[in-house]
Amino acid sequence: MILRPKYSDIKIICYYLGKIILGMGLCMALPVLTGMMFGEWDAVLDFVIAMMVCFLFGFSFIRLFYTTETLGWAHGLMVASVSWLMAAFFGAIPLYLSGHFLSFLDAYFESMSGFATTGLSLIQQLDHVSFSHNMWRHFIMFIGGQGVVVIALTFLIKTAGAFTMYAGEARDEKILPNVIHTARFIWLVSLVYLALGTAALTAVGIFEGLPFKKAIFHAMWIFMAAWDTGGFTPQSQNILYYHSMGLEIITISVMFLGALNFKLHYAVWTGNKKELIKNIEVITLFITIITTFSLCAVGLARAGIYPHAISLFRKGFYQVISGHVGTGYSTIYARQFITEWAGLPIIATIIAMALGGCACSTAGGIKALRIGIIFKALRQDIKKMLLPEDVVVIQKFHHIRDIILEDKHLRSAAMIALCYLLLYFVGALAGMILGYSPLESLFESVSATANVGLSCGITNAYMPALLKLTYIFQMWIGRLEFMSVFVLFGFIISMVKGK
């Protein structure tokens, strides 16, 4: 029997949603300040309007649904899943008002792509976008990478059930015993790297010929999108705009750091540097990056596109690592994936995108931890078959500490991996139904689901609305790693069918 949710359940969910919407409005202060700094008054108004809409909804929700009840597991997961839909909606308002989108759906797509740290974009005339709107596009990636709920936990919510919301954002690992301290640690790490990364990228920008002010802002935005494995850039040519090897090297380093587990960052920050070479995720990530790049390199060498090994390495490695860690920065044109990289290179890139970065990081995809666990389990089963029946085979893996591999680890890893594979397939099917080739459809579907942002040219403002909706859904569910979205579906069904 399905139980229909009570009004008190809806009150709890709406109350916390109100707080998150309020937080979203406060975040818009940053683009407002940026606009004021550059005298972009028309753009400032876009953000003031959106901010006030957030305050109106936020205050209304908090007032109407005020409650002191504690969040349960289902409530927390519901808040996490709905808050991402709402954040994308409110975040889309200033984007739509900018006049750079053909419809509100396009602005919503951009906003969801930003929050989910995907990087697929439908913006028009990107090279003529204001500083304040660019600040917002990149800042939502920074918020989304850390987590919409994580930001609310850091500043606005201090409640006993906070972990449920935190877990709903696909972060099932607490770094510190207290979840609010965990959220603050995530922000501390991100802000320290933001300062260092911006300084390094600014220096490169100035060296490569950018004016001082622009160098600082471009550096900050590129860092935000690289660290959060997002992929938005302030220019339409993506990273190719800069024609700079220095910038490519720094962005590779930043996006790789962003794809590492925050728990690993904590271990290294607290002096446990050995974790870097022992951790199952790092080892798996290293192996899969080398494997996918090798496949790509063989394909590119056979095709004979690049005149020498350095260019092949520079282009091949950049697209593969950017796809693997889920950033989506590129130094080739979208259509080149189809016209020049067809065959082994594009297949290697699709595999890299599908695998993804580390768990509890800003990256998307199946995740290295799950791949590592599945392979360990496979190894255990093969060992069992080779050894006498009465021998007990114990398989361990190292993730911060030594853990004995149990069925529950495998079940959880395999279930999420299967969900990702199914979603990759469903998105590809949608693309094929709408008239795109199987390879293009699969590439774009994997890119959207794994929150990568590399495109082979399907994603543009003129693609069918149904495909835009499909990719929005894929970006959302892929970022939240299914569970909280499944709970939302369950909640809706129980509202209709429950007794």
């Binding site: 108004l45 305050f55 205050f59 090279d127 003529h128 040519q237 020498h308 260019s311 044109y333 016209t339």
Partner: protein, 168 residues
Amino acid sequence: MKKIVVYVLCSMFYVLCLSAWAEIITSKDLIENAKMHDNSVVQFQGEVIGDIMARGDNVWVNIKDGTDAIGIYSKKDLIAKAVRYKGDYNYKGDILLVKGVFHRACPQHGGDLDIHIYEASKIMDGFKTPHEISFSKIVTAFSLALAAMGLAVLSAFRRNYGRKNKGS
């Protein structure tokens, strides 16, 4: 007769070459058919976007023809003479017509798809883009701010009233 035939054939070849050279290629064509155009002389036209990035005696500038922007590598003085406005939020950039050698994967620049140019001429001047403040946006922002402030005050008042009632 033989001389006439040779003359006609040479003339036809010259006209064909000229028309091929005169044709302005699009970014879409360059990207889609990169292999075909590799190492050939092309003419490309579009808006100067972003910045002119100096690299020694040369510069990088990106030109967008409406679909995609292509990286243009040039001598510094060639671009300095031709470009005044660069496209960004405040300006519509100059429209340039450039001629140079197209590279599908430039050996000098790490495999970038680019054009090394030796001719550049301005087709159209850029201009400052007006960004008028919309009156309807001001009214909307003001009304929403009033409503949000009213709601915040009402919430605070009710909370205080509730506390007082509990206290008494």
